[in-house]
Structure formats: structure tokens, C-alpha cells
Amino acid sequence: MRNKFFGVLALLMISSAAHADLDVVVTGIDTAATPIAIVPFAGLGAKEVDMAQVIDADLGRTGQFRTLSRGSMPEQPSDPAGLHQASWRSANTDYVVMGQARRDPATGNVSVRFYLVDTLRGAQLLAYDMPAASPAQLRYVSHQIADLVYEKLTGIKGAFTTKIAYVTANGLGNARRFELVVADADGYAPRAMAVSREPLMSPSWSPDRKQLAYVGYERGRTAIYIHTLASGQVRKLVSEKGINGSPAWSPDGKSMAAVLSFETNPDIYVFNVATGSRRRLTDHYGIDTEPSWSPDGQTLLFTSDRGGQPQIYQLPVEGGTDAKRVTFVGKQNLRASYSPDGKSLVVVNYDDGRYRIALLDLASGSMKIISDGPLDESPSFAPNGMVVIYATQGRQGAELATSSIDGRTRQRMRQPGDVREPAWSPQIR
């Protein structure tokens, strides 16, 4: 599986000199997954993006598809007229994606047409002309095609055109450098949005994904910044004495939950993003931190050690003193967030000396571990709820990993130095 990605990687190194792309390894594809073949698109030069490769990797990463290697393809049609149903049936392939690219010699732009065919029924499920795009945009167009195919075959909106934000740390002592990076959801095209010699932490996307909130340090003082990505403008939302941490944007984008400690000790506050005004939500002598909103914006989850060990509690967003404990399985549970449908939580679960990522089903109360640990943290749902991204300790430092929500298909994304605190961007609706 690993070798498959090297061709693409080498190609991208040329176009993206500033930052190394994340090297991607996928393991544990489910044998019950839907068999599909992504035929190389006709009309693409050797130096251009291998669009079929990008779509193949997107679909394979979900664990819901088993993609056919090129060597095993009986033929490489570029439209349904050239496809022989029987050949694909003997290759045990239920679906075939194929397409062709045409370059406009005047503008240099590329138009892509693609098809999705059901080889069992001989039916054409999708046929699209994608909007003309520059060669540099062909990865994005490939992700759009993967979204369309994924939604057609699963009924679930794809999340392949989304972004991830994460933090990298390199060097030691005074040479240490932290970067806040935004990359495509598959780890390609990383771009440093902010750099600092002091820690950068806790990126949180605005729901329109135009802004990131994060924590920075400045001469021994912390602050929560709001960074508008397109303009590079940075606004300091708050910088009280003590902790200014854990920013979490509300689903409607108007409020931000965060942690301040200047009044007594770490407690949850809710800010009006536009005015900067705030109100205190919790007031407890224990640590209250890591707030996270329910999808309807009515409830906040947070981590608290008010019961001795850190566990997850919830409160209505109006506040109150009757915080309800929601996790009971495991010695500790930390940093919860809701699934997009609000039916489950992803948490960091500590038991048997290992910090692992776990899903808590809210209706049944059952906890399912989906990572191996021992130092996993910072879980974040893909916007369609089918995959969780988190940080884990690799052999050469911290790296990112994804797991399908059934825990079967894992992906590692690494680059030199530490890579951590992934935050999956919302989908543009």
C-alpha cells in the first residue's frame, strides 16, 4: 500500500517547495468494503496530477471501499462506450470510475468529464462535466469527484474537499519553532498560517471555515487569536492573566467557548465573537477545560476533575450549577466532542496506562476504543462523521492518524518533527 503513494508524492515535491507534504500510509482495508476501480483518466500528461490516484486514495482512506490496483484492471476505458461489463464482473469490481481531461490550448485550462458505472446492472450512475480548472487546481477537482462518487454510493456527503489545520513543532531550545498549518484533508498542499518560537495550540475552525481561532504565547502570556485566513489578519480576542485556552467556535459562528483562569482557576467562559464580551459558564474549584459545542448549539461538553479524575461533563449553554457527568467507563476521559449527528462523542480515554481514542454512544452508554495508544490525543470528527482524525506518537515524533469510526481502517500522516492537534474543517454547504 505504501509504495502506491510515492509517485504522487514525488510529483508534488516539485510544486510545493516550501513545506513537505505529509507522507500517507493506509492500513486495514475491510475485505467487506465495496469493490471499485478508478481508471486512470485519459488526456492527462505525465507531469499533471494523476486524478484517478487522488480519487483512489480518498475513497480507500474511508475503509468503505476496496480499490482495484491498476495492474489488475482488465481495460482502461475513458467513457462507458469503451467499457465491457463482463470483463469487470470477472475482476469482481462492482463500480468503475473513468474520465477524460481536455486542455483548452488558448487558456491552458483543463476540462474534465467523468463517469461512474455500476457493472452489475450495467447502469451509468453519474456523468459530470466539471468546471474548467487550471492544472494547479486538478487535485481539488479530483477531491470534488471523490465527493460526488462517495455520496452517490453511500448516501453520505463526502469530506474530501475539506481542510485540516494542525500544529507542527521542530527544533529544541531557542531554535524551537511552532507552526500552525492548513492542508488539504489528505495532507497535501500544506501552508503555514502562523509561526512562533513559543507554543501555538488548540486550533478551532469557524463554521464558515474562513477563520481559525488558536492559542499563542507572547513573553510568558497567553492569548486567544482569531486569524482570518484569506487576509492574514489576526485579532486578539482575549489575553487575561493566566490561562487563555481551548477556543471552540459555536455552530452558528457567533459565540466562542474558551477557558480563562484569571478569576480563580480554569473555568469555562462564552464569548460574543463580534463584541468580545463574555460571560462565565462554570465556577468550580476543580479544573474545567476543553469545552465543545453540541451540533444544535444548546449544550457544552467539558473536561473537569471535580470528581477527582478528569471526566466529561455537560451543561446547557445558559450555564447552571448542575453539570451532568457523561463518561463513566475508564479511569479518565478528556477532550470530548460531538459527532455531527449529535449521537456520539469522541473522547481521549485513559485506561490500563494508555491514552486512546474512543467513541461513546450516548443512547446506550457503550464505549468503543478505535485507536491503540499509548499517547493518542486531540480527536476530531470529519464533517460527515465517518472518520476521526487524531494525533499519535510515531517512531520519529508525533504524527497524525485517522480511523474509520468502526476502528478498522487507519491512516498515518507524518512529516519530520512533531505534527499534532489536527482540527478537521467544516464542510462548505
Partner: protein
Amino acid sequence: MLKNSLVALVTVLAMAGCASKGAHNAQDTNPSAAGSSSSAGAGYGSDGQPVQIGDQNAAAQGEGLFDTSSKANIIYFALDSSDLDSAGLAIVDKFAKYLTSNAMTKVRIEGNTDERGTREYNVSLGERRANAVLAALRTKGVSANQLNVVSYGEERPAAQGHDEASWSQNRRAVIVRQ
């Protein structure tokens, strides 16, 4: 509140401007493109330099009492604990004597944790440790306005390993001259 926010914003932007000669206000060079292209990164600050956050010259400082290399200013903690042991109290004593007789000197107490647990929770734990040192110094008569606290959580490990030998080096509070 509003006024404060604006002042703070200007400070950050001015700092970012000094930090590098490259323009920090990233321009979206391709606003009309169909979709935000991966490699062009339209809508994500296509051509801009990253913004500089924090101090460019976060230099180490101090000597003798503040000498980090001799660990004279480092107080270590047991797992899940913010209690000072006898070695920690001895360091507090030395600093208390120095600070009460040097009332102009201000220090920052930096709380740190090992890497286990989540990052923001560890920021809170680190602050608890730094506050324990602050409380001990206050008990010995050090003025509150000489003392500041910051927690780095697990973000600034002294040792890089993933075992108790490293973790015990990282569960610490460091007193630095401000």
C-alpha cells in the same frame, strides 16, 4: 473592552510587520477560481507569509539562582501532583530570601507537565503547579506583584523521551527572572 481589543490588535499586527520583511497580509490571488484549489490554496492566503505570533527573541536569561543549567531554579513534581517536596521547598526558601531582599525583582513561575493526557488539560495542571510555587513564595513573605505565573503544559518538555525518566524531568516549575 472594545478599546482594549483594538489596541491589542494593532500591537499584534505591528509585531508581525517587524518580524519579517515579507508581507504578512496574505493576498488571495485567485478569488474567482472554481473552488479553492489544493495547490493554489485559494482562500487560504495564497501568497502570504505566515503571521509571526509571540516574541522573536525569547531569550534565556539569568545566572546563579536563575541558572537553569544547574537546575537551581527548577522544582520537580510527582505524577498527578502539585505538592512541593523537601527539595522543592528548599528552592522556594532560597528564592523567598532573594526576592524579599530584592523587592524590585520580578519573576515568572513557569508550570510544566509531562506529555501524558491532553494538551489543554495539561495547561491547567501546569498552572496548578506554578500556583503551588507562588503560594509557597507568598507564605514566605514575597510580594504578589513580584510574581507572575504562566503554564506551558506539555508544550516545552525538558526531556524528549517517552518514559518515566523523561517524564519526571518534565513535571516541573521553573522560576525565571522577568
